[in-house]
Symmetry: C2
Subunit: 442 residues, 2 copies
């Protein structure tokens, strides 16, 4: 296990003795001796080493004037990384770990922080899962979710396919929350046929905090993967600030709308497909418009990184757009203003890019609602020069779709056609009134 | 008045006879003759001319096979553009017109569409305003709101100052909705002292539609400008889908959250300052945290256009960032993921830019909540290389603030300090639970 959180002096000392997060460490300082499990540091002071003492408390000790530091016992769990563990017999649900708070923070319970979990550890942490399904797990990789990239999406898609091919009924993907919706979209566009639920899950609060959502989210994700007859990529996260239920959102219609709240993930331009009632252990369908499982799983995961997401703003100038296009991109999603606009001064630059074969699609920075480029002159002119309106697609989802499309099609007209087609529920023909949240303050 | 909405054949014919929107036109076609006021076209067919007939209906006529087209009477209202009209005696409220649906669509009533209004026309349209305040108006310019840019912000700020200096108690700025929040932020940072309310107002629906919000929004904006003892830049728009009240939002804490709904404008990371009850004609304060008026109005409006807003996404590569920085920008706001992250692979590129003197500030694409770059390794490393966390500031507001700051300070350390300081209520030290809207579907 890496020492990712350490830097400077503490890192060099820990590195020197070959210590890993999770190891039992002893630090001697004059007449004092501290023994505990090595934890990641959250201190700005790079001389501090954090140990979890036997009484459960964490202590920060400066290595500055310590007399000695040594490893008493190596972490047992280190070996679990990148292993594939199976429960006895055939598993029903496979948990794919990619990293993130949900898997790393669970480890706080055992004293070590690692961004990956073996099946045994999951079952130790949430023993009730045993009553829900036989599970297996695969650690695909262990990264911070902000480091997610298209290459990794392909690995996750392949692991999902492998999971279904191994006979599992559903797949749970444990993922960091920062980029979970991008991955959900990438899986939705890559999995052309799906045999069962693909449930992404994460947690906003570490499991060492009383308000952690890790247990409820992971338990309900496994429950949904086992019991919900759906052939879509969904996101299962806390619904409201209470612990009563989670929402099962359509992956291509979800956004992380808060930096820290447990109910940060919400449907945009769609309503959640279902909710999972935690007390009753029951899936309640809210939105009947979902796909049933296919009889096989087909993966077509290829992504181009020649795509860019440009947010329009007053004062944005043509030279920057020229520079972005000149850096070699083949497609750009504009997060325009209102119904899908950008300053009319920029139309010529866009026109030129499109003539050079660059796809340009329009979404709205309002996020809610749909672009309509027929109402005002600017919208009509943008369409005339070849900008493609992308309806009610979320900007981030449109970007991921563009990465997928650019990797599959060469001709601009084909790319336009695919971008305007509904591939995985990312375009909603109609909206209902209660899709917009209520902003009431009394 | 321009013929902005016309293109192609219709434009060339109308141009040829010197027609303007609002003119009384006669088109002859065989044995038929059509007489009506020239309206803007919303037809994709560029041969169509739209006339408002005497019976109130609009008719689209192809100029293809018409025998003749002529002007019977020039529009009276053309002269009103760029004029400064005063009601008799001293005015109490000044309405500054910049363009947008609220002022242009009001003109539908009279048959012509112009993006600007004289005082007389406003009073004709909403006679009740006479009972609220003596008004005057100034047409600063008439643009589509997507074409707003920093130079125009300066003109609006100057007009606000002029309005207060002329003795008005409050100023109403009629603005297109696309970029209204950017302008609100620009005014908030430019007006270092404000003598009374500066109320931005727009409309999402044209006044020729039964569900128009133009009347309620403009009426209530004038009411608020006259009666609310506040020295801030606020946005007054429909609160919910009903017509019962408008919200008075803090300009630097508001976002357009829907492309078309009337209640699109909502407070983010703050609660509205007040609501205006339309039935009772009453201002109800919701949030006591607001600034009272200063005893003078001071303007310091300068903006640099060397700023860029970069949205982080998986697969974003360093070359594009290099290209953007290389295009000559002096500052960049990142709309990072989650608590304020970007792929750790990009840290070196950012580090280099900062070393070259470029300011880089971090906000979150979650929009709600605040960045916290102390929790995870990536955040701490980003801070170490010089990325400035911008707390709970909205990305768009941070961008406008950066444009203002870059025009006032040279040294990177000064820019950082100003960006981290609360200038106009854009940073909230604490959030309350009901700032996050309710996402409930039953």
């Amino acid at each position: 296990m890496q020492l990712t959180s350490y830097q400077g002096r503490a890192l060099s000392i820990l590195d020197n003795i070959g210590a890993s997060i999770g190891d039992l460490i002893e630090i001697k300082k004059g007449k004092y001796s501290f023994t505990g499990i090595l934890m990641p540091t959250y201190s700005a002071d790079d001389s501090i080493v954090v140990l979890k003492l036997e009484n459960g408390y964490n202590i920060g000790i400066s290595v500055e004037n310590s007399d000695s530091i040594r490893i008493l016992k190596k972490s047992q769990s280190e070996l679990a990384t990148k292993e594939l563990v199976r429960e006895e017999g055939m598993s029903e649900i496979k948990i794919i770990s990619t990293g993130g708070t949900i898997v790393s923070k669970i480890e706080y319970e055992t004293g070590a922080v690692r961004p990956a979990l073996s099946t045994k550890e999951i079952l130790n942490f949430i023993p009730e899962i045993k009553n829900v399904a036989k599970i297996s797990s695969e650690v695909v990789f262990s990264i911070l979710s902000e480091d997610m990239k298209p290459e990794y999406w392909i690995k996750i898609a392949d692991a999902v396919k492998r999971g279904f091919d191994q006979g599992n009924k559903g797949i749970v993907v444990a993922h960091g929350t920062d980029t979970m919706t991008y991955t959900a979209a990438a899986l939705a566009f890559s999995l052309k046929k799906i045999q069962g639920p693909v449930v992404l899950v994460g947690s906003q609060r570490s499991s060492d905090r009383p308000s952690s959502d890790a247990t409820i989210n992971l338990y309900s994700a496994v429950y949904v993967a086992k019991n919900f007859q759906i052939g879509e990529v969904v996101i299962n996260m806390h619904s409201t600030s209470s612990d009563t239920y989670t929402y099962i959102h359509r992956g291509v219609k979800t956004r992380k709308m808060h930096t820290s709240r447990r109910d940060a993930f919400q449907s945009i331009n769609d309503i959640p497909i279902a909710k999972f009632d935690w007390a009753k252990k029951e899936i309640v369908i809210i939105n009947k418009n979902y796909k049933i499982p296919d009889d096989e799983t087909l993966v077509d995961a290829k992504f181009s990184s020649k795509a860019f997401l440009l947010k329009a703003f007053p004062g944005l100038n043509g030279e920057v757009i020229d520079a972005i296009v000149g850096s070699g991109i083949k497609g750009m999603i504009i997060e325009g203003t209102g119904l899908g606009h950008i300053s009319s001064e920029l139309i010529d630059v866009l026109k030129k890019a499109i003539k050079d074969g660059v796809f340009i699609g329009m979404t709205s920075q309002c996020l809610f609602g749909r672009v309509n480029m027929n109402v005002y002159t600017t919208g009509r002119t943008l369409q005339k020069v070849g900008v493609t309106p992308l309806d009610d697609m979320l900007p981030e989802v449109a970007l991921v779709k563009l990465m997928w499309t650019l990797a599959h099609y060469e001709e601009l007209e084909d790319i336009k056609k695919v971008m305007r087609s509904n591939l995985a529920g990312e375009l909603s023909p109609r909206h209902v009134i209660n899709e917009f949240p209520r902003w009431e303050y009394e």
